[in-house]
Amino acid sequence: MKEAKKIFKTALEEGRTFVLEHEAKDIMKAYGIPIPPYSTATTADEAVAKAKSIGFPVVLKILSKDILHKSDAGGVKINLKTEDAVRAAFNEIMENAKKYGQEKGIDVDLSRGVFISDFADMGTEIIVGVTKDPQFGHALMAGLGGIFVEVLKDVSFRLIPFTESDAREMLKELKAYKILEGIRGEAPRDVDALVKIMLSVSKMVEENPEIIELDCNPTFVYAIGKGALVVDARILIDKPDK
């Protein structure tokens, strides 16, 4: 896919092995992976205008080649419901990023401003990820978020590429699969939509083997028929000729 290659080239030229959030989302979009509406803004006014066109509430996140862990740098503001809140959040994020740079002794590039996105409704939290194993190559992981993955390490893997039935099987392998089937009177989750995301990620990695790690975390899966959304995405790429 040309879109992805272009983005990876830019990243490497800037000395990054990670892609910025809007870049990650651009790639996802190109592969038909559902994501909440998003945009970027370099000034507070622009952020407000973009928020209005996306619709409140929104999320603002710092976009900088110098910041990988955005929360650590005070670079994330969520559930912003008004124009004033967006304006204030924009300024605060910029301030925090500057401070973060001073603490780390780096000159943080702020020219890209912020990533701005619809604040997605909470769904069943899923993590879909990719790792590159030294022996077996790329593998996709799936699991339910929160304690299931953090404490119980309830995740399953398949080598990329895999088939649709592999994807369904790997979800069924999860101890928490019952949650996706709907427990305590809840409607079953939209497993078809999740499977589609898994297959799209598999295709993305197959066509872009320079991806060495990827997290779609969280991915929200909604009730059956209501789809799924990749809310946050991280992509790490390999340095060429390493």
Binding site: I127, G129, V130, T131, D133, P134, Q135, F136, G137, A139, M141, G143, V149, K153, V155, S156, F157, R158, L159, F162, D166, M170, K172, E173, K175, E213, L214, D215, N217, R234, L236
Partner: protein, 480 residues
């Protein structure tokens, strides 16, 4: 990777003339132990010794170099110090020999200097199309051709025999394990076709052997012991295995459940992966059955070699001892096999054919005073009912009423029905002999219910791999 021609591998097992480079007259040396294997009457090919120090070794003519041998040589076994192997390979190339096994250690496993030597040897081999097994290995045992490069005296390390029924081949990264397994399977009386120790895998690797054994008509089950794969070799093993498993079962014991990959990862996914979970996924996805240890491997391999895979997960247990029935069904249940009770119709038929004091359920207990006829009646009705995919038969021979004709009954029903049968027979000398007879008739026999259950599980697992969606899975979840 798809399999190309396996001809270049075949010669390691079919060589009609073998030269032992580094053959030695000193007792207990590697160079002598190997030549001893080839002067046994079973090996019908020609053998030559190569060593400038001798004119003959144990009566085998000894030459200063390969080029001094007038006849053609198919295979060279190299047992000389690492530092002179490059020279040996020049000699091999000059003689136009296409296969060599390097037994010697002292190569990449020892560090940089050894690795350079190995590279040098590989370069010569590549240039002259010489296939190389090793270095740092014990080589191969072929129980049909009697090519045997294990430098281990037979009184310490028994050699397995081929079975007329079905055979297993094992590829091991570790030479010590290959030897121990040779010794152990010889004792167990398990039918073995080939044992291969790959050592440093400088040329011939798991993929080559997998392709070769997939086509080998004397190998019914392929077993691997591996500690890990070189970079990207895990992937090619996966790709090759995928093409093999629909036709032949592959079992793997993989050690080194290491955390290295985990430590290196910086993303969430990477930190959760670890290489073992990915390895597990790779095996599952390619239809390779991973087992925990060698005992499980050979219990499973024996069943897979001798019996057809199951077409579903429904097992019927028939026994002449209640305790054995319960123990075995417990074990079957723990392994997620279905143990459905007979339908009312089948139950009726069974009651009509059995004494009233027999317990009809699952297990079916034909009780201690039975002879073979009650088993016969159960098999007849249960097979006809179509309610079961597999039969586990408890055969306790301590009772005087059960004659050896039971083995005929079991074997005949197995053959007629084409359904997999497994026998569990606990006991001492008499039982062991009966088990051997049972296995000569083609039905695998185990000393405990747990082992039999494991074997049944392997047949169901492979059935699911082979028949995919057509496998009749009645238990929904595979989770405990």
């Amino acid at each position: 990777m798809s399999c190309g021609s396996t001809k270049s591998i075949d010669i390691f097992f079919t060589a009609k003339s073998v030269a032992i480079y580094g053959a030695s007259a000193s007792q207990n040396s590697v160079g002598q132990a190997i030549i001893q294997n080839f002067i046994k009457p079973q090996y019908t090919g020609k053998v030559y010794a190569v060593n400038p120090k001798y004119n003959q070794v144990l009566g085998v003519p000894c030459y200063p170099t390969l080029q001094d041998i007038e006849e053609e040589v198919d295979l060279v076994v190299v047992a000389v110090p690492a530092r002179i192997t490059p020279r040996v390979f020049e000699d091999i190339a000059a003689k136009k020999i296409k296969a060599a096994i390097i037994i010697s250690g002292g190569f990449s496993e020892t560090g940089k200097i050894g690795a350079e030597l190995e590279d040098e040897v590989v370069a010569i081999a590549k240039k002259h199309d010489i296939r190389v097994i090793g270095p740092n290995c014990v080589g191969v045992v072929d129980t049909h051709s009697h090519i045997d490069t294990f430098f281990l005296p037979e009184y310490r390390c028994g050699r397995p025999k081929p079975s007329n029924v079905a055979n297993i081949s094992l590829v091991s990264q570790s030479g010590a394990f290959a030897a121990a397994i040779s010794d152990w399977t010889a004792e167990l009386g398990l039918g073995i076709s080939k044992l291969i120790s790959l050592g440093n895998k400088c040329d011939v690797d798991d993929d080559d052997l997998l392709c070769y054994l997939a086509e080998d008509s004397t190998t019914q089950v392929i077993c691997f012991y591996t500690e890990g794969y070189d970079e990207s070799k895990g992937r090619s093993f996966f790709d090759t295995a995928k093409t093999v498993t629909p036709n032949k079962p592959i079992l793997v014991v993989k050690s080194g459940r290491g955390q290295k990959a985990r430590a290196a990862a910086s993303s969430h996914t990477g930190s959760l992966a670890g290489s073992d979970k990915v390895a597990n996924a790779a095996y599952m996805q390619s239809g390779v059955i991973r087992v925990d240890n060698f005992e499980h491997m050979f219990d499973a391999a024996k069943a897979l070699a001798m019996q057809p895979p199951a077409k579903g997960d429904r097992v019927l247990m028939i026994t002449n001892g209640g305790g054995l029935g319960v123990m075995t069904t417990d074990a079957l249940e723990a392994l997620n096999l279905a143990i459905p009770s007979p339908s009312a119709e089948l139950e009726n038929k069974l009651h009509q054919n059995l004494p009233a004091y027999c317990a009809v359920g699952n297990p079916i207990d034909v009780v201690g005073d039975t002879d073979a006829s009650r088993y016969d009646a159960v098999f007849k009705e249960a097979i006809a009912s179509g309610e079961y995919d597999m039969f586990v038969v408890g055969m306790l021979l301590q009772t005087p009423s059960l004659g050896m004709d039971i083995t005929n009954v079991i074997a005949n029903y197995q053959r007629q029905s084409g359904l997999p049968f497994i026998v569990v027979s606990m006991g001492g000398g008499f039982t062991t002999k009966a088990g051997e007879i049972m296995e000569l008739m083609g039905v695998p026999t185990y000393a405990t219910g747990e082992k039999a259950a494991l074997a049944a599980k392997a047949l169901a697992q492979y059935g699911e791999i082979k028949y995919r969606d057509k496998f009749n899975k009645t238990l929904i979840s595979d989770k405990p």
